[in-house]
């Protein structure tokens, strides 16, 4: 089975700076793989390990996705190779453009049986790209998948919904978005990180793949909310006296 796991490179939230005019600055931000996309990579690895197959990782975004630390972060988690579409034209791609670019990349990779997405991207968390991508490719498309196993040529998946669990049999090719509890992503060893540097990575620009770029939504503004003023009375240490002091504050608040 040929599996492609999709991950998005997102800014570390704690490094995002709110400026005086409430807009956000990302110049100091470290970039990382979206936390929940690690579950997609891990799901691909576990499926390939159990049923045979080959896992590739795929990410699209601005030039920053083509960074050796990030590439190692993806490849050290098991995939045999990596595909990137790294182009600053993709910096502000919405879910539609993102899915269109991923669809073009999946077609160019060719012969893909299963595309795995995370539950949602770390920054936007729209939980949409997998659905849009699946329809664009004309593949069987499912989300909320909490278990996936191979059975012959088909996949048996469990889908955890609000009030019930569906057990479904899906014929590939398919696009599946997995939940965050489907697995515990492995933590790569130093050896795996070293080895990752030697695995093949292919980087394309937007011009190298057949895709139509063009956002369908227009962003008018992205502004930090005004934060509430907090008293910040912090007691240091859990001695009996400090606990008694906290109790007095609490008692007043709860009165």
């Amino acid at each position: 089975m040929k599996i492609v796991a999709c991950y998005k490179v997102v800014p570390e939230e704690q490094d995002i700076v709110v400026k005086g005019d409430r807009t956000l600055a990302f110049d100091k931000a470290e970039w990382k793989i979206g936390q929940y996309d690690l579950n997609a990579i891990e799901a691909g690895m576990q499926l390939a390990e159990a049923a045979g197959g080959e896992v590739s990782a795929l990410s699209i975004g601005g030039k920053m996705v083509d960074n050796s630390k990030l590439k190692k972060a993806a490849l050290s988690r098991g995939p045999e190779q990596l595909y990137l579409v790294a182009d600053d034209a993709l910096n502000a791609a919405d879910c539609y453009s993102t899915a269109a670019t991923l669809a073009a990349a999946v077609r160019k990779i060719g012969g893909v049986d299963l595309v795995l997405c995370g539950e949602g991207s770390g920054d936007i968390y729209a939980q949409q790209v997998g659905a849009v991508l699946g329809q664009m490719l004309g593949y069987a498309t499912l989300n909320a998948v909490s278990k996936v196993t191979a059975q012959g040529d088909n996949l048996i998946v469990e889908r955890t919904l609000e009030n019930e669990v569906e057990v479904l049999e899906v014929a590939p090719p398919a696009v599946i978005s997995v939940t965050t509890d489907i697995n515990k992503p492995r933590i790569p060893s130093l050896k795996e990180i070293m080895a990752a540097g030697k695995k093949p990575a292919t980087t394309w620009g937007v011009g190298d793949i057949q895709t139509e770029l063009g956002n369908k939504t227009e962003i008018l503004s992205t502004l930090a909310p005004v934060e509430a003023d907090r008293k910040m009375i912090i007691l240091e240490g859990d001695s009996d006296d400090k606990i008694a002091e906290l109790y007095e504050h609490l008692r007043r608040v709860l009165a």
């Binding site: 659905a131 329809q135 498309t141 606990i243």
Partner: protein, 308 residues
């Protein structure tokens, strides 16, 4: 305020559908619901000009009807489709968006009609910012949760139109459906909430926190990892951008680091109190009162004092 000519609603549960309909009526002229399910349920769909009825879910899943819905939408071209943000709703919204050449506005907290489209707001970067977006495509789609629109009294719907079935070209076979066990909780109504995070070392230790919550008459909530990863508490109890958003009078964060995705769910609380052993934890910058200490020492001690 501008109005749209046609606004449609797609949802699974009747109360959610009727809530979206109440909102749809403030945004547009003609309204319609696209529905799969039992006939009795169909009769409870109120307030719309048309109910497009697809069929039952007895031997099918909603996804079986996706091609039928796409064909209907592409023929009728409503200006806006409001989709209830359940798991299936999200999938359908994205699938429809790909077919119609639009981008879904997800988890919006606010939406207004503007010239030939809609403008909406949602949280991004885990709650660090609000983003205002505009969608002015032929067909626009928004995924909307509960509480965005106010319910209103709705008259009976006018007519039911049966929709022609279009067989899917992909193969997804339902082998089994099983009910999920879960508790129903309504944290949003609680005035006092105790939230517990990864500082908890084992599921059994929840007893200690429960005793404390009971002593101060608070409801129990948690951070996402406690529900999603450890599964020590129900998913309905995790607070934050992807969980429940609260506005209690008092919030007590125990062993919670205070990352934005969590705190955005409680930052409207009147008073925030934090217990964390790390004095640099982000939660202290967002707290009114706090103690740098071991919750395993602080919580039982406080419980005892409150029980007196």
């Amino acid at each position: 305020m501008s109005k749209l000519a046609n606004v449609w609603i797609i949802g699974e549960e009747i109360p959610a559908i009727n809530e979206l309909t109440a909102g749809a009526k403030t945004l547009g002229g003609q309204t319609a619901v696209v529905f799969t399910g039992d006939e009795e349920q169909t009769a409870q769909i109120l307030g719309v000009n048309t109910i497009y009825y697809l069929g039952t879910l007895a031997d099918k899943i909603l996804e079986t009807y996706t091609p039928s819905i796409i064909k209907l939408v592409m023929t009728e071209k409503p200006n806006l489709i409001l989709v209830s943000n359940t798991r299936k709703g999200r999938l359908l919204a994205g699938t429809l968006a790909a077919a119609c050449g639009t981008n879904v506005l997800t988890d919006i907290t606010e939406v207004v009609a503007v010239d030939n489209g809609v403008q909406s707001q949602r949280m991004v970067y885990g709650g660090a910012a609000f983003r205002t977006e505009k969608s002015t495509n032929t067909i626009n789609i928004a995924c909307v949760g509960a509480g965005v629109f106010e319910c209103s009294e709705l008259p009976a719907s006018e007519k039911v139109v049966e929709v022609e079935f279009v067989a899917p070209s992909v193969s997804i076979k339902c082998l089994k459906k099983r009910a999920k066990l879960g508790e129903k909780v309504n944290l949003a109504a609680a005035k006092r909430v105790v939230g517990v995070g990864r500082g908890l070392k084992a599921g059994e230790d929840l007893k200690m926190v429960e005793a404390f919550a009971a002593a101060i008459k608070a409801e129990m909530g948690c951070s996402r990892p406690i529900a999603e990863e450890e599964k020590w508490m129900a998913k309905e109890r995790y607070i934050g951008v992807s969980g429940v958003m609260l506005k209690p009078e008092v919030y007590l964060a125990l062993g919670i680091s205070g990352q934005i995705q969590h705190t955005v769910g409680v930052n409207q609380a009147k008073t925030i109190i934090a217990v964390n052993k790390d004095k640099n934890a982000a939660i202290f910058k967002q707290a009114d009162y706090g103690i740098v200490g071991d919750m395993y020492k602080v919580i039982p001690a406080l419980t005892e004092k409150f029980q007196k």
